[in-house]
Amino acid sequence: MADGMCGPSNPLQNFQKHSTVDKTLQQDRLVSRPSPSQGFRSSPGPNAGLVDPEFEAFQAGQLPLNHGFQRQQFPAQSGFNQQPQPGPSAAWVSDFQRLNISSPPPQFMQPPFAPQHAQQRHDTGGWHQDFARQQSEIGNAVQSMINMSGQTNSEIRYSPLSGISMVPRYSGGFAGQQADMSRAQQKQPEEAFDEEAFARAFEAAAQTEMASKEQESQHEASQQDTSQEQSQGIEVVQDIAIDESVERLTGKRPLDKPIGADTIDDPKLDPKINQQQNSPDALARTAGQLLDSVRHDRSIKFQNSQFLELMRQIRDKEVTVEGDRIVGTGMNNDNGAGGVEADGMAGRSGAEEAIKVAS
């Protein structure tokens, strides 16, 4: 990675890499990417020859791109949101369209939902298959997410850019660096092209690429917070929340710790749990917890509540659940009402749901 950053024309080299990034939705496999020293391109692709003369001209400053370049997004991302960019953007957009950077030409002005896959498809041969292996399947849904949130967003902040950051949280590697560039790009609309931030972002990505994903988001968050003039603290913090959610998008749970009903295992899956949790003691304990949680409430309604009275009786072992009925144990406070044969395990779940009263 670091070797790609040397030299005075650093940002332009990075631009070249931007234009070749894989933005397809067919990112179905998660495989660790090849080491960064190999660079972003594994093979030039069919359009390599076509691009070079235009790029040379561009570097020489002869393409009509100078006026718009400082503030614009890169063409690879131009497919994301076009509607909110009026005026000068349209000019460079058509300029890039004329370039042979990707084929088919990016499809602008797409309605958000259905054709979103079409506009992502950069079927440019060899490198595409290589990256298709590297990207996770998450990218698929996440890209759709980006489009949904990005298409109608007319803020200068270019939320699709921050939306892109969702991708690396799961796939890491190349996409992570791409997102770091994107995050750095967020400042572009307001300021001139900031090479330092670019370089900083690259360094950060290189350092933290192998670190845990949590640390990475925190690191970037702190960088972004301190370096941006317009503090976007809420957005960044919210990004972390969204990023962490997306990170586990197809995983088991988006939260570190399951809460509430997720903490209760399915009794059918593990018979041992059934034994323990359906014992009258566990039930009484649960009822006691519930009563404790509403103990502070002195309202008449809660004092007279039949349900809480039942909970009291369960806690005090006056009644208990047997099979599908509630039966009195020693005292004659029998609240049994159900007589139909039923699976008694429902009792546990209902009581747990009741715990949610004042969590």
């Binding site: 698929n140 998008l249 809460i259 039942l310 039923a342 004042a358």
Partner: protein, 355 residues
């Protein structure tokens, strides 16, 4: 206020029929749904009060019900043993005409497709949402959520968009038109525990903290603005979200003292919603986005509570708006075994509505 007592059974959900303007379906369970069987009540609203038209008994508790949008006599229920049943009022017997048993745990929500009307969805504690057709003997599709899914709903504006809220404090939006890749039609995963923007502040100076994740128990789509939905859960706060900008809620409605169990947007007014809670009250809210309706008042703007109905003596678990006639009528049910049909304007301050 009209009242009906579902003696011995505690209410879990109430739904107005989409075909007949005086018919209700009430999902109830014995012993507060902890153990025992369930019963589906079909009630009629008459000039003499609420009468019982029919009832169906089930082996296990019924937690939610949904009227068929195609057949005015059919109604689906979700049960505590994981089964989904379809009942027909015009049939002779008291048994279901269809019984599907694919969920492995309690079915907490049922929702009918409002556009093409040929499918309905159920969600369950087993972490999945299943799509059914009344004619098919098995489910059409299973959408995994990996978390206890308390509520699912079809968007009233699209036949392909299904939303759900789960115990892990997230909203999931599924679009069935997307290809069924490994993401299983999931197009958005929105964390509910964000902070609403404070009006008049800039991000730099005022950063409200993110709230803690808490189980989300209910949600509903706005019937007029197709990207707005509201959620309510254990932290007692009702949040409205715009799915185009899912970073934070549009509005926060505070007022309930305990968890919010059920909520429903009004089919008549784009800014009004009603909620039932574990604090035994049913509250009416405006999210402050409309002018000239219940939400308008010269001095008060913004999201706020419009009124609170305290007649229930146990947790209020089901609410629904009447689709026909006067726009303020609602039905609510509770663990106190009563179904109440009342007009929200009776609990709202007089100046809160209409000129």
């Amino acid at each position: 206020m009209m009242e009906f007592l579902t003696a011995g059974y505690n209410g879990y959900a109430v739904k107005y029929s989409p075909f007949v303007n005086d018919r209700l379906a009430v999902a109830t369970s014995a012993n507060f749904g902890l153990v025992g069987n369930g019963r589906l009540y079909i009630l009629g609203l008459t000039a003499n009060g609420i009468v019982l038209l029919k009832q169906f008994d089930t082996q296990d508790a019924i937690y939610d019900t949904a009227w068929s949008e195609l057949n005015e006599n059919q109604v689906a229920v979700g049960c505590g043993d994981g089964s989904v049943k379809l009942f027909d009022l015009s049939g002779a017997g008291n048994g279901p005409v269809q019984n599907w048993h694919e969920h492995s745990r309690e079915v907490y929500a049922t929702s009918w497709n409002l556009i093409t009307k040929d499918t309905f969805a159920t969600s369950s504690w087993d972490g999945s949402i299943k799509l059914w057709s009344p004619q098919r003997p098995s489910s059409i599709l299973t959408l995994p959520t990996h978390s206890c899914t308390y509520s699912t709903a079809f968007s009233p504006h699209s036949p392909s968009i299904i939303s759900s809220v789960t115990s892990d404090s997230h909203i999931r939006i599924f679009d069935l038109r997307t290809p069924a890749s490994a993401s299983n039609h999931l197009v958005q995963l929105i964390p509910i525990h964000g902070a609403a923007p404070v009006p008049g502040s800039t991000f730099a100076t005022n950063r409200p903290p993110l709230t803690q994740p808490s189980e989300c128990l209910t949600h509903d789509w706005n019937k007029y603005r197709d990207t707005i939905l509201a959620t309510g859960g254990v932290d007692s706060i009702i949040r409205t979200f715009d799915i185009r900008n899912p970073r934070q809620p549009v509005a926060l409605l505070r007022g309930h003292e305990y968890a919010v169990r059920k909520l429903a947007w009004s089919p008549h007014l784009s800014d009004v919603l009603i909620s039932g809670s574990y604090d035994m009250s049913v509250k009416v809210w405006s999210d402050g986005t409309a002018v000239g309706s219940y939400g308008s008042h010269p001095g008060i703007r913004g999201p706020r509570e419009l009124g609170s109905m305290e007649a229930h003596t146990e947790f209020a678990t089901g609410v629904d708006w009447c689709l026909f006639g006067a726009e303020g009528w609602v039905a609510s049910t509770s663990w106190d075994s009563r179904v109440l049909v009342w007009d929200v304007r009776t609990v709202m301050a007089p100046h809160s509505y209409g000129p």
